[in-house]
């Protein structure tokens, strides 16, 4: 089933067609996980899901992503796990553990390729990683950041890191790389805050102005820290343009999580995040989990056709967001487009047990 779906262009289907595909695949995955993951089956039994008469995917029970930090959730045999992905928690936090078998891992790669190609073209091009080479070398740092870099590295032919192991700008390396690939399209990849802190600010400081007018930048990791510095997405693009000539329409943020690697949500030229046909975004009202209207803020639910080896096909995130529209973005891409409004606020809890609050502090 997935082989055929992965042949369809990622942003080509109208609402009804996509809905049908999602229903078929997500119901199939629900049955698979119900039969192969005992904890998942217990959860579904607890909420009274009738696995023989599954509802529309919009009514399928969603698992909070936090569960992957607290439980070992696996739908394949332990010996079939080829890779265990972990989330990038700050020190002292529990991290998510996502178990991948060969099939799911391959699906993730194929799907990511489809999505990224829609923005970068199908040709592999030279790649400039706006991060330190130490991220990959140092196992202690290797988590979502390292996995992200490795995951996206398949789109690059030659790879160059913009920062040395001390997180300083490698100007000599950059010059040589750009000289060699003058006039070619270049794929840039990095994490939003790292780009701002260690690339943009250092370019500003050193006065070095590389020519990246042929560059296409894909970046992710969230806006939390930049929002604290009062930097908007538009300003981010404009300022980058000023120091390296990259065109604002070629800068693409993405939203994604380790719990659903592969199905990322890319930002289009209009600044909207887009759901590809392989996944979808639903907005839930916090009070009763009913579906919010277009334009109404709520908790983001993400569904993905990929997870076979762990029950992560229907997840409730801890992010807030808004659907901006469906099938009618001026960029021409079909599917829902949306924006993220940050994370849910931690609860202010009264009561004498101080430890509760500490346990949930991020």
């Amino acid at each position: 089933m997935m082989d055929e779906i992965l042949e369809i262009a990622p942003y080509s289907l109208e609402k009804e067609e996509k809905h049908k595909l999602l229903n078929a695949r997500l119901q199939e995955l629900t049955r698979v996980h119900y039969n192969t993951c005992t904890p998942y089956a217990r959860m579904m039994d607890a909420v009274g899901l009738d696995v023989n008469h599954l509802p529309d995917y919009e009514q399928l029970p969603f698992l909070p992503v936090r569960l992957f930090k607290e439980l070992e959730l696996r739908s394949c045999a332990a010996e079939d796990v080829v890779k265990t992905m972990t989330s990038s928690g700050t020190t002292g936090q529990q991290v998510s553990r996502i178990f991948l078998d060969r099939e799911t891992s391959a699906l993730q790669t194929k799907c990511l390729t489809k999505i990224v190609s829609a923005f970068l073209g199908t040709q592999r091009v030279p790649m400039l990683i706006l991060d330190s080479s130490a991220v990959i070398k140092n196992r202690a740092m290797y988590s979502a950041r390292g996995a992200g870099i490795l995951g996206f590295s398949m789109f690059g032919t030659k790879r160059q890191y913009a920062l040395n192991e001390e997180m300083e700008l490698d100007i000599e390396g950059l010059k040589a790389f750009l000289d060699e690939h003058a006039g070619e399209r270049i794929f840039l990849f990095g994490f939003t805050f790292m780009i701002w802190q260690h690339f943009y600010k250092k370019l500003l400081e050193t006065g070095y102005r590389p020519d990246l007018s042929q560059g296409v930048l894909i970046h992710g990791g969230g806006w939390k820290k930049l929002a604290q510095e009062q930097v908007s997405p538009a300003e981010f693009k404009q300022r980058l343009h000023e120091v390296c000539g990259i065109l604002p329409e070629n800068v693409h943020d993405y939203y994604g999580m380790v719990e659903q690697t592969g199905t990322i949500y890319m930002e289009c030229e209009c600044g909207h995040l887009h759901a590809p046909i392989f996944s979808d975004v639903l907005i839930r009202r916090p009070l009763d989990f009913s579906l919010a209207e277009i334009g109404e803020e709520g908790i983001i639910e993400v569904v993905s056709m990929l997870p076979e080896s762990y029950p992560g096909h229907v997840l409730l995130t801890e992010d807030k967001g808004v659907i901006l529209g469906e099938d009618d973005c001026p960029c021409g891409r079909k599917g829902k487009y949306f924006k993220i409004n940050g994370r849910l606020k931690n609860a202010e809890i009264r009561g004498c047990s101080d430890t509760y609050a500490a346990g949930f502090r991020r």
Partner: protein, 395 residues
Amino acid sequence: MIEINNIEWLHGSMETLNERPLVPFADEVIEELDALSKALMKDPASRQYPDVVTFAFFCRRGNLMKLREVFSCQSSVIRLGWGVVFHIAPSNVPVNFAYSVVAGLLAGNTNVVRVSQKQFPQVDIIVKHMRATNMHRVAVVRYPHESNANEVFSGLCNVRVIWGGDATIETIRKNAIPARAFDICFADRYSIAAINADKLTENCILNTEHSKTLAERFYNDTYLFDQNACSAPHLICWLGEQDNIKKAKEVFWEAVYDYAKAHYQFQDVMAVDKLTALYKQAVAMPTCEEQTKNNLLRRVEITELPCDIDTFRCAGGYFTECEVESLDDIAPIVTAKYQTLAYYGFEREELEAFVQRNRLTGIDRIVPFGETTTFALTWDGMNLIDKMSRIVSII
């Protein structure tokens, strides 16, 4: 004496701690508490905070004289306060610091209490009137974690009272206390409720307003402090005829929901917290979600009581329910961690027999609905007056 850094003296000073101990329930202490009570009652600002009013009510002369009466009946020996009591108040229950101090005062001690860094209007009001009425034997301090105050006060106190749960206790205990001094610790606890469904249905038929009153009491036991007070029930045990249990649950939860809807400030992240709790519980034990109107109230039904049920809890309105044949069915799961049993529809004799027959290691308080957070001088199984005073034996 080492100097204390980063400290704010909200009331009193280091000199305050030089006062000598008194006998329990000394006249001068009762006078001063009564004056504080009157001042609080008169202040319009207090009336906005039911917890301040309740505290003021506790401190009035009439109540204290009654408590003195009970105390003298039980104790004929000579007692005196230990000296200086150092109280570390919890960060999330505003008025708790004041009750802790009152217990220390009534036992005959001089007190220094650390209040939370978090600002609460209730704390400000009470401290304001402590100053205005010039209360003796009390110093109120506030300081950040990096201050050396914990070390200094621990080093000079005779008794240290630690609220705030296991983590706070562990942190504070890193500071040494004098050889003769000791700690009174209020650790993390777990609380439950038992409802006699036969009585509940009967009373609801007699009086249609009954469920509303009961819901309000239950709300005060739970939601009022985000179901995170040690005394807040998480597990509800239902007893009685099947039919009555079914009816009682319907009436009870509908009333609780309505009351919570009107009074509780729901926070979005609680929706996720409760769903996470539900699924974790479902993985660990046979669990069945009960339908509710929305995430303000989450109910899960279990058919058997596992011994680790106390670890499956969630703040802000998450209840595990179980139907049991008799109170004795609850006994096997009760450990030292259990604090309060809130009850509805049981006779005192039944409850006494339940405790004695089962020789429980936990449950220190058995109180009717609505009374779980009511402060008493006996708390967590300890008589605080006895604990905080010493016996002088003369033979």
